[in-house]
Symmetry: C2
Subunit: 242 residues, 2 copies
C-alpha cells in the first residue's frame, strides 16, 4: 500500500473546504451537462474554453466579441446562441476558436477549485482517457462533483465513483474515505444501466421536462473522447503533456 | 401521489441549512454510536437523556450531580464513567434516571436540529418502530445523518436509506431528491451484510482499532427495541403519544 496516492470524492461544492489541500489534482465533474459539453467541444476542435461563474462576466466577454455559451435553468440564456448542450459544439464551426461558457453548476465548481495544483475536466465521455492520465501524474486526486445549486446530485457522484473505481483498480491509489466509498458503490449499482438508475434523479427529470433526453443519453455514454481539458490560468486547454 | 409527505436525507450537519424548513420531523442518526446508545438506554429504563454539545456543559452537569456520559475520539473522556457504548446503559442501574450525554457527532446534530418542529432519535435498533411512528405523523421527514466531524459517513447514510426505503414502501411518502435516492441505493447495496459493506468505512476502522467490534455488531442489528426517543425542550424522553 506504500506510496499509493489518495483518491477522494467531494459530493458538492458546499463541502469543498473539507477537501481542499495542497498538491492535489481536482477533477471537476458536471455530467449534465457542463463538463460533458466541454469534452465534446474539445473533441470537435475548440481550442480554448474560458469558464466564468456569472452572467455578468459572460456578457462582458460577449461585448468584447467572444463566442459565449450561457446556460441557466437548463436552457440557453436569452441573448446567447449557445447553452450547455454538447451537441451545440459539434458542428465544426468552432474549430480553433475560444469559447466562453457559464453554466449553473459546472463553471462555478471549476472556478472554486482554481487555486488547486491542477484542475482538469472529467465526465463519462473521457472516463478511461482521464483515468489513465490521472494514474500517470502520481498525485492525490479529488473528484469534485458540481452538484445542483450546492446540493448533492446523483449523476455527478456516480461519475466520480466511476473514476474512483478505475483508479483503485490500477493499484496506484487508495480510497479510505466514506464519501469516496459511497460514490464507488453508487457507480457499481448504476453502471449496468445509467438511464434506469437515474430515472428518479431530480436532474434527469428536470432535463427530460425540457426535451433533453438525447443530451442525457449522450452524456451518460462513457469513452467517446480522449481529451484531457486542463485549466491554465483562466482558460481550459488541451493538456499537451508538459 | 397526492398528499404524500416528503422524505429527505441530509448527509452531514454541514449541509443542514439546505434542508431546514418549518413543520418537518427531523430524525437524528448517529449509528456508531450516539443514537444507538440512546435507544439502548431508553430500552433499558432510562427516563430522560439530556444531549449536550460541549464537554464544558457536560462537566457543569456533572458538578451538579447528574450522571454524565462523555465520548470523544471513540473513548470515554477522562473523569467520566460512561461513554457512548450502548452496553454501558444496559445494566439496569440507570432505570428511571436522567443521563446527560455528549458525543463527537450525534449530540451536535441533535442540538443543531432543536428548532425543528419535532426531533426524534433514529438508529438501526428502532428502525421498524420509528418508521411506523413516522408514517402516523403525516409530516415531512428529514433524516439527518450526523456524519463524522461534519463529513459524510457511510453507516449513518445507510441507516437513513433504510428509513427512506420503509417510508416509501408505506406509499405515504415520496422521495424525489438525489441525496435521499442515493441513501436508499446505498442501503439496498448494504442490507444483506452491513458488516462486510462497512468493512472499508473509516468509522468502522476507527472503532475496530479500539476493540469495539461488539459495539459495531450491536449497532448494525435492526429492530432490537420499539422506543421512540423524542426531544421535549432540552431533553429526550420517550414519546407518550401526546
Amino acid at each position: 500500500m506504500k506510496n499509493r496516492k489518495k483518491v477522494e470524492v467531494c459530493h458538492t461544492p458546499s463541502l469543498y473546504h473539507q477537501y481542499e489541500k495542497e498538491n492535489q489534482i481536482v477533477v471537476a465533474i458536471d455530467v449534465l451537462r457542463a463538463t460533458s459539453a466541454m469534452c465534446a467541444a474539445f473533441e470537435h476542435g475548440v481550442e480554448k474554453i474560458i469558464p466564468v461563474s456569472t452572467l455578468e462576466e459572460a456578457k462582458e466577454y460577449k461585448e468584447k466579441g467572444y463566442i459565449v455559451a450561457a446556460e441557466r435553468k437548463g436552457q440557453i440564456v436569452e441573448g446567447f446562441t449557445l447553452g450547455n448542450s454538447p451537441f451545440g459544439f459539434m458542428s465544426g464551426e468552432y474549430k480553433g476558436k475560444t469559447i466562453v461558457i457559464t453554466t449553473t453548476n459546472g463553471t462555478r465548481a471549476i472556478n472554486m477549485a482554481k487555486n488547486a495544483d491542477t484542475v482538469v475536466i472529467g465526465s463519462f465521455l473521457n472516463l478511461d482517457a482521464l483515468s489513465e492520465w490521472l494514474i500517470k501524474q502520481h498525485k492525490d486526486v479529488l473528484l469534485l462533483a458540481s452538484g445542483w445549486k450546492d446540493r448533492f446530485c446523483l449523476e455527478d457522484t456516480i461519475c466520480a465513483g466511476a473514476f474512483v473505481d478505475s483508479l483503485i483498480k490500477s493499484a496506484k491509489f487508495t480510497c479510505d474515505e466514506d464519501s469516496s466509498i459511497a460514490a464507488k458503490y453508487l457507480y457499481l449499482s448504476a453502471k449496468d444501466n445509467y438511464m434506469a438508475f437515474l430515472k428518479a434523479s431530480s436532474h434527469r427529470r428536470r432535463l427530460k421536462a425540457l426535451n433533453l433526453n438525447e443530451d442525457i443519453k449522450y452524456c451518460l455514454t462513457p469513452n467517446q473522447t480522449d481529451v484531457i481539458p486542463i485549466l491554465k490560468g483562466d482558460a481550459l486547454v488541451l493538456d499537451n503533456g508538459e
